[in-house]
Amino acid sequence: MSAAILGWTILVAQIMLGLAMACAAYRVLRGPRAQDRVLGLDTLYVNAMMLLLTFGIRSGSTVYFDAALVIGLLGFVATSALSKFLMRGEVIE
């Protein structure tokens, strides 16, 4: 009973997160300017992290947690490096 409730709810949540990732991917592909693409990429990273956490709850293993942590770190580094690039035209001055 509880496994069925949890399973169906997590399936619905994963579909919602997939739709959210599709919205962010649309903004990455069709963003009118470069800063819209960077913002869409940041949102895509956050949604992917939440999707990995829901996979971890479903499978009951803590392996997905490490992947989510790495995605969070990479998302921050990517967003700040791309913002620096938009600001100055180069990443490392």
Binding site: C23, V46, G89
Partner: protein, 154 residues
């Protein structure tokens, strides 16, 4: 039938399910706002709904679920919480400042000019050639404009 690997009692399954669903709904709302809002400065506010409250709900659900499954406090999701709380404002602040800088150097009339300049007069466009003589403060903005111009084509 859709099953979960670990079996938990019903009193633990219901809060976990509700929190996961709430977090995913908030993330979907934020990403839908990113899709629908009109200007960039509106859009930058929308995904923060997912990256603060949404991921907070999912992380609390994950902590609660694994604490019940392993019958001990599992708190390593706090690492991601601290990471998101620290890094999200920094990254989005950098992005907003970069976007404001690009809009100003292009003379976009939708953004407010630099505080040193006359509010009556728009910021000169970088390819416009000369800065107005009465505003020497406009001159330093000319120097990195060519670098920005090359970036904008991408």
């Amino acid at each position: 039938m859709i099953e979960v690997a670990a079996d938990v009692p019903l009193w633990a399954a219901i809060p976990t399910a509700l929190l996961v669903l709430l977090g995913a709904g908030l993330a979907l709302t934020g990403s839908f706002g990113l899709l629908r809002l009109s200007s960039f400065y509106d859009r930058i506010h929308a995904p923060t709904l997912g990256s603060t409250l949404g991921i907070g709900c999912v992380l609390i659900a994950s902590m609660f679920f694994f604490s019940v499954v392993e019958t001990r406090p599992v708190l390593h999701e706090l690492l991601i919480t601290v990471l998101m709380v620290v890094t999200t404002p920094v990254a989005l602040m950098l992005l907003a400042r970069a976007a404001l800088y690009r809009d100003r150097t292009e003379g976009n009339p939708d953004v407010p000019p630099l505080p040193g300049l006359d509010p009556e007069e728009p910021v000169p466009a970088p390819e416009g050639g000369e800065a107005p003589e009465s505003h020497p403060a406009a001159a330093p903005a000319e120097e990195p404009a060519s670098a920005v111009r090359t970036v904008r084509e991408s």
